[in-house]
């Protein structure tokens, strides 16, 4: 057997080992019980100050809906947003959570095929959050975080807030008790 053949066989062996390992890993992940993945998803969801998230998000959403009208609610000062959400770290937690929300939607998609539309919307939202957080990381490196945060930070938070609403809507379609009442209240 010449050297060239040895190299060729070695290359094929590595190629096959990587392919089989990747396929085996995927197969193992797919075979894991749904309950187990649901538990791990719940564990991965990092706790955030939901009241602050909703307050900042609604400030932006209501502002865009009622532009030109007097706002009777408690407006969030741009300078407060950074503190309320816990700075760039807080926003990075929302970014991580947004990935978990997508996984939760995908998880429910197995039970409810109609979850597909919401899952796609959530994916788009997560990309938006990623983009906003990416810009803020750049701003932090340039020392402009405080100037950029109110604009990009509030948009990322509002997007995250909408993601949680959409996910809850999805659960509603799964006939989860009491969620219909919540939707009426909204």
């Amino acid at each position: 057997m010449n050297t060239h053949t040895v190299y060729f066989l070695l290359a094929v062996a590595i190629f096959l080992a990587v392919l089989i390992a990747a396929a085996g890993h995927d197969y193992y992940r797919a075979r894991r019980s749904p309950q187990e993945s649901w538990e791990s998803l719940m564990r991965r969801l990092i706790s955030v100050d939901r009241a602050s998230v909703a307050r900042i998000a609604l400030d932006l959403l209501e502002e865009s809906e009622q532009s030109g009208k007097d706002d009777t609610g408690t407006a969030v000062e741009p300078s407060d947003i950074l503190q309320l959400i816990g700075g760039l770290k807080g926003l990075e937690i929302l970014e991580k959570n947004s990935q978990v929300l997508i996984e939760m939607a995908s998880y429910l998609q197995r039970s409810y095929p109609e979850a597909l539309i919401i899952a796609e919307q959530l994916r788009q939202n997560a990309r938006e959050i990623e983009s906003h957080v990416g810009r803020l990381r750049g701003a932090a490196q340039n020392g402009n975080l405080e100037i950029s945060f109110p604009f990009y930070g509030q948009r990322a938070i509002a997007t995250y807030y909408l993601m949680t609403r959409r996910l809850l809507n999805l659960y509603e379609q799964g006939n989860v008790p009491m969620l219909a009442d919540l939707q009426k209240a909204l």
Binding site: F8, A11, V12, A22, A23, R50, A51, T72
Partner: protein, 260 residues
């Protein structure tokens, strides 16, 4: 050309297997969902008939050119099936998600590069340049297909795209077949056809046997309906209920804050 009993058996089994699979695709209304896959199965039926006729009535050269022309068509259709599977998984709403599109192009580029690398490294002992080219091209095609199908599975897991039962069955079949095919094409490259075609023929028979196994798997998997949707477990319901209560509480707090 002399055909052994085993050759005839594989020929008949392949013809019958594809006929049954085509019937399943039509009867269970899967043909509309998988047009490229259905085209490949239909083409394979026609190919079996055409090659049989050429063997009986044509020359060795006729057979060679017919076989390899149809093999090229087979590879093109397999590529189309990879695209069909990707469409089902990565653009279920008719639009490619931007993050997936980028990863998918990376997968395409990398898979072509690696498959070209393997094809370039291969130096089969053959009697002519055409034979060497055929073996190298087969290895390239097998490596490329296996990378595409396994890569798609990995990518779908990474971006949390669930696989529809029937899409998964088709992709799994092609995934397994193409990985085995890489081993077989490696054998073809190693043994070559310079001194004897015995090893080449034995490996080709093995490939057909594996492919027939895939056909049987597709017949069963595509005949069966997708499993019914799962039910939410009691624990999940309780967790979702708690989550909903928390959200309700937050909203009430927000409302009272705004009323101040």
């Amino acid at each position: 050309m002399h055909l052994t009993g085993l050759d005839l058996f594989f020929w008949a089994a392949s013809f019958l297997g594809h006929l049954v699979l085509l019937f399943v695709l039509w009867k269970r209304h899967r043909a509309k969902l998988f047009p490229f896959f259905t085209t490949l199965i239909s083409t394979n039926i026609l190919r079996t008939i055409a090659l049989y006729m050429v063997v009986r009535l044509g020359t060795k050269d006729n057979y060679f050119y017919t076989y390899w022309s149809l093999a090229l068509l087979d590879t093109i259709l397999q590529l189309c099936i990879a695209y069909e599977m990707a469409s089902h998984v990565f653009r279920p709403m008719g639009v490619w998600a931007s993050d997936v599109r980028k990863s998918f192009f990376w997968l395409l580029g990398l898979s072509v590069f690696l498959a070209c690398g393997l094809g370039w490294l291969a130096s089969p002992p053959t009697r002519s340049v055409v034979q060497a080219l055929v073996i190298k091209t087969n290895l390239f095609a097998a490596a490329w297909m296996s990378e595409l199908f396994v890569g798609m599975m990995t990518l779908s897991r990474r971006v949390n795209r669930p696989w529809n039962t029937h899409v998964a069955a088709i992709a799994k079949g092609f995934g397994v077949y193409s990985i085995v095919n890489v081993v077989i094409e490696t054998g073809h490259t190693y043994f070559g056809v310079r001194q004897s075609t015995q090893a080449y023929t034995a490996l080709s028979h093995l490939r057909i046997a594996v492919y027939l196994g895939c056909v049987v798997y597709w017949i069963v998997a595509l005949w069966l309906d997708a499993p019914p949707s799962q039910q939410l477990t009691e624990k999940m319901r309780a967790q979702l209920f708690t989550l909903q209560r928390k959200v309700e509480y937050d909203l009430q707090s927000l409302r009272s804050r705004r009323e101040l």
